[in-house]
Symmetry: C2
Subunit: 213 residues, 2 copies
DNA sequence: AAATGCACTCTATGGGTAATAGTGCAATCC
DNA sequence: GGATTGCACTATTACCCATAGAGTGCATTT
C-alpha cells in the first residue's frame, strides 16, 4: 500500500485521450517537457513555493503568460503530463491483443507507457522528496493518476464486455499499478542503474512466479 | 494509483509486534478504541483541527493527560491503532501454513486482520473525507501503514528464506495490499451492505480468475 | 499502577497583508 | 494565421506574528 504517487519524470504532454504524437504536437510536447524539467529542478532546489512562474519563465526562455499555454497551473508544470496512449497500442489492446489475456496485455500496455517516461533514479527520488514536502502536490498528483487509470478501467470493461458493476477492471488495474509502484520503489532505491522498464519487467516476473508457485 | 490510505475504523490497540490480547491489555485496547471512535466522530463533525484534546477527553470521560497514555499524538488518536497480529495466526504463517503457497497464505493473514477491523461503510467514507481534507493526516496514515507492512515483508523473507535483496516480499505485499485497497473502495462505495471481509474475498477471487484466464 | 492535575515547552493555526498564481484581451511577432 | 507576449486585472495562497492548543514531565491522588 503506500501512498506512492505516480512519479513522472520526463513526462510527455497529455494529448487527447487517444492520439498520435505528430508534427506540431511533437514540438509542443517537447516544449512542455522542457518546462517541466526546469520546473522540477527549481522545485527540488528551492521548494515548490520557492520559485515563481516568472523565474520559471526566465529559466525556460518564454514569457510567464506562455507557461499557462502549456500547463493550467504551476503544480501541473511541476508534475508534467502523463504519458499518452499511442493509437496503435490502444487499438491492439482493444482488439484483445497481443495475447488475449487481460492481465498480460495490460502489463504490455503499461510497459509501453513506462517506456515513454524513462526517468532517472535521481529524478524520481528528487520528485518524491518534493511530493513528500508538499502534501498539496501529492494529493493533486494522485488525483490526476486516478483519473488516468480510470480511463484504462473503462477500456478494460469495454474490451472484455464486462457489466458496469463488474469489479475485474478495478482489480486488474489495481494489480498492475501495484507492480508499477513496487518497481518504482526498487528503481528509486536501487544503485545498479538498470532502466526502469527492466525493473518493471522483473517485478512482473516475480509476481508471476509467486502466482504459479 | 491510488492514494488510498489505510482506513481503520474500530481499530484495535497496536499491541507489541506479536501478542495475544488478554486481560489488562483487553481493557486498555477497549478504552483506546473508544477514544478513537469518539475522535473520529469529532473529526468528522468539526474537522481535524476543529476539536481540542480537552473536548475529546470530556467526551470520552477521561482527563486530557490520560489521552496521551493511549495515543502519542492527536493524529494517532484519530487514526486509531493498526490491527494486531495474533500469535497463533503468525505462527501458522511462519510455519508456511495454511496452504504452503505464499500469496494464498498472505491473503489468509490479511483476511484475518481485516476481520479484526470490521468497519462500517459510513465510517470508512467519513474517515476518507477527514483524510482528504487533511493531507497531513493522510501522510501520517500512510507512513504508519508502510511501517506496518514492512513487518510483513520481513516475515515473508524469513518464512521463504529469500535473500535480503529479493524483491518478492515487496511484490507479494504490494499485490495483496492493492487487493485490500481495491476492496476498500468497493466497500466504501457500495450500497449493498455486505461485510468488508466478503468484499475482500470477492476481490481476491476476481484477481485469481484474471490470473488463470 | 494508572489516572490526573498542573505548569511548562513546543508547535501549529488563524488573521491580515502582500506576493504571486491565474485570467482575459489585444498587440506583436514569426 | 497562429503563437507569443505584454499588460492590467482578479483570485488565491504564502508569509508573519501572536495565540491557542498539542505535547511533556513530574508529583499527587485514586
Amino acid at each position: 500500500m503506500g501512498n506512492s504517487a505516480i512519479l513522472s519524470s520526463r513526462p510527455v504532454v497529455t494529448p487527447p485521450p487517444v492520439s498520435v504524437v505528430a508534427g506540431r504536437s511533437r514540438r509542443r510536447h517537447d516544449a512542455a517537457r522542457a518546462v517541466t524539467l526546469v520546473a522540477q529542478r527549481l522545485a527540488t532546489e528551492h521548494g515548490l513555493d520557492g520559485f515563481t512562474m516568472e523565474q520559471l519563465a526566465d529559466a525556460v526562455g518564454v514569457s510567464r503568460r506562455t507557461l499557462f499555454n502549456y500547463f493550467p497551473t504551476k503544480d501541473d508544470a511541476v508534475l508534467g503530463e502523463l504519458p499518452p496512449v499511442e493509437e496503435r497500442a490502444l487499438e491492439t489492446f482493444r482488439a484483445r491483443g497481443p495475447s488475449g489475456r487481460l492481465l498480460l496485455d495490460l502489463g504490455v500496455l503499461a510497459t509501453h507507457l513506462i517506456g515513454a517516461i524513462s526517468p532517472e533514479p535521481e529524478e524520481v527520488r528528487a520528485l518524491q522528496l518534493v511530493l513528500e514536502r508538499n502534501p498539496r502536490l501529492m494529493v493533486k498528483a494522485n488525483a490526476r493518476f486516478e483519473d488516468y487509470v480510470a480511463g484504462f478501467r473503462r477500456e478494460i470493461a469495454e474490451r472484455e464486455g464486462y457489466a458496469a458493476d463488474d469489479i475485474r477492471p478495478r482489480v486488474a488495474v489495481a494489480v498492475v499499478v501495484s507492480l508499477y509502484e513496487s518497481a518504482l520503489k526498487e528503481f528509486a532505491a536501487g544503485s545498479d542503474r538498470r532502466p526502469f522498464t527492466e525493473i518493471f519487467a522483473e517485478t512482473v516476473a516475480a509476481a508471476r512466479s509467486l502466482v504459479h508457485e
